[in-house]
Symmetry: C2
Subunit: 396 residues, 2 copies
């Protein structure tokens, strides 16, 4: 018969999907305006106008066969050169189009990277809380995913745990900053700490341990003082997995890239392995029109002020109610400590007030919940009194 693992993956409804279905049912019962679905991490602000302008102009100006034809597997040369140049200008790291591989979005960036690196018996490390699809993507390579804790106060990685966990089978450490679901951004000192440990351990084992940086939320930071450091400045064996889904509010169009640090050991061969992995997985080229749109709009963002306003409202509102929250420097998620030990029970209690939250256990982190604030601001304003009642029920 067909493959049972694939069947299990395809037939199990995700928690977020279940919440979505519940919200639909509940909306039919009491009206959508009375249901507060904070479960889905979908951009809620439009793409910058430049995206649609760019689409229509490119379509008008480019002959059809060139426009809609295959690009090379790694992406259109001009697109890659443009994005690399902008990257260099912005981060001060020398990158060329030859180091970039355009992908069908973040998930593709990750599966291709894992397949490019993993050998039989290999291991990848990630810190909880983490985006649960990582486990699916790593499983697809046959490698093992080891989940390490973060500090409950700061949600920063537990480096002592990292030191203990590293072993000669670890092929890479995956980080995601700004983080889904905690919203935390790793500063330069944190990245430097990774670099120091991974360099030392790579030398000890005589093989590189790659730092894989998943950066779909890179541009979504809200305070002047928050800087998302470029990992390539700190450590040579880095691979950046990027997507334009969140920065340009176009997750459905599936375009992103893998940047292989040209300073990585044997960088050209590593890049070739990325190309090979893309090929075997069935990624012929990233969508051609949107490659060009991404290159033109790289560096722009959707209107982030909406997310900032939402974050401030929600963070202040919930801490005022007495909830313990991680201050989210970026992304569009707030990570909140459940007001009782069992976060599932807390989510159920919240449901009574029509507040739909995601259990942190789905992100490998017990006792917390995620609130996605990529919603209309008005939804948050209306939800705050309900959070207040929930807090009161717990005597906060």
């Amino acid at each position: 018969m067909y493959n049972q693992k694939m069947y299990a993956l395809g037939s199990k409804r995700s928690t977020i999907r279940e919440i979505f279905e519940y919200a639909k049912k509940r909306s039919a019962e009491i009206g959508a305006e009375n249901v507060f679905d904070f479960s889905i991490g979908n951009p809620s602000v439009p793409a910058p106008d430049a995206v649609n302008e760019s689409i229509c102009r490119i379509v008008k100006e480019t002959p059809s066969v060139a426009l809609h034809g295959y690009t090379s597997a790694q992406g259109d040369k001009t697109v890659r050169d443009t994005i690399a140049q902008k990257f260099t200008q912005r981060f001060g790291v020398e990158l060329s189009g030859e180091d970039l591989y355009m992908t069908c979005g973040a998930a593709a960036s990750l599966t291709i990277t894992f397949h490019a690196l993993a050998n039989e018996g290999d291991e990848f490390i990630v810190f909880a809380p983490y985006f649960p699809e990582y486990a699916v993507f790593v499983a697809g390579t046959g490698a093992k995913l080891t989940v390490l804790p973060s500090d409950e106060k700061t949600m920063l990685p537990d480096f002592a745990a990292l030191e203990r966990a590293l072993n000669p089978h670890v092929k890479g450490v995956l980080i995601n900053s700004p983080n889904n679901p905690s919203g935390v951004v790793y500063d330069g000192a944190t990245i430097a700490r990774f670099a120091e440990i991974l360099e030392r351990k790579s030398s000890e084992y005589g093989a590189p341990i790659y730092l894989i940086s998943d950066e779909p939320y890179r541009e979504l930071v809200y305070d002047k003082e928050t800087v998302v450091p470029c990992v390539m400045k700190y450590y040579n064996n880095t691979i950046i997995c990027y997507s334009y889904s969140k920065s340009l509010s176009m997750p459905g169009e599936r375009v992103g890239y893998i940047a292989v640090n040209p300073q990585a050991d044997d960088a050209k061969a590593l890049y070739a392995a990325v190309c090979g992995a893309g090929r075997i997985l069935g990624f012929v080229c990233a969508p051609a029109l949107f490659q060009r749109v991404a290159a033109e709009c790289d560096g722009m963002t959707a209107d982030l002020s909406v997310y900032k306003r939402n974050r401030d409202l929600l963070y202040n509102g919930l801490t005022d109610c007495g909830f313990t929250c991680v201050y989210p420097d970026g992304a569009f998620y707030l990570f909140v400590k459940a007001a009782e030990e069992d976060a599932a029970a807390f989510c159920e209690r919240a449901k009574k007030y029509e507040l739909l939250l995601v259990n942190g256990a789905d992100f490998g982190y017990k006792g917390w919940v995620r609130i996605a604030y990529c919603v209309q601001t008005e939804r948050i304003e209306k939800a705050l009194p309900l959070f207040k009642k929930l807090a009161e029920e717990y005597g906060l």
Copy 2:
């Protein structure tokens, strides 16, 4: 280190890529107008105007968040319903949106299908000549690809060889009609023969053997009497892998679908396995805008009269010279018997006349060469006298 198999896949230049590079070098030396590159299977006619009109209208009419947002993993519901309805109207086979899974093009359709089906130790069967990436895609699942011969006169499958090759490990038989590289179309009797054998063997082994039909060239047929039969009418355990790349001349935009026959054994679970495979490979959803464009333009085609004219010119011209050719009912390839035993030597000899052909050995078929006629008609007109000289050199 990184994965060596991926490195090998990513660093080995394909024959077609080598020819492309040679053509570039040679064009610089003697002028592009004097080099006849028949190696690349890229649509050479523009997309129907409706494609660009559809893009611009959808962009104008749809609010950004809905337009560029994620669709469900299996594809936008309206898109799937529309395509299924058109499929039913055209082929007279009941299909619903729930049987369709939108993909990032043909390669994705295939890798997802193979991953959905394959278990450890499984085997797939294909008939030579065949598109060489099939071997890469099957290798990605860990399954084995068995290549069986086609009849040299008709390029139809050798059914006696199929009977001998089938065994309880065979999970599926892959067919591709209209065929790359032979251009042959399998008629209803041929599909019925597959159905009879696979049904009998499935019963014998107590497990379904799937018929996987790769149909990117489905609409590219040139004679009134040529009909591409719908495999679902003949056999229940079928999966159709489709792409809009060739029919709508938009290969770079990466959109296609998998259609799981609702009459297949345990069809809902099979469909779930497809969803699971898409997920583990990193396909979140097919590009959203182009899903909608595909649904609107499904049933249209680029101007196929150009390919028909090219086919007629080339087939008649080459047979008049004395070459043995397979009559191509469809696709945009002509398969020609090399005028000496060693097709590689024949390709080298053709190069002297600036004719760049692909060795059939790259498609698993020795002694033949492929000519891609998706080029400007004028190129064929100019090339015919050179083919004539080549024929004379061989005393044809």
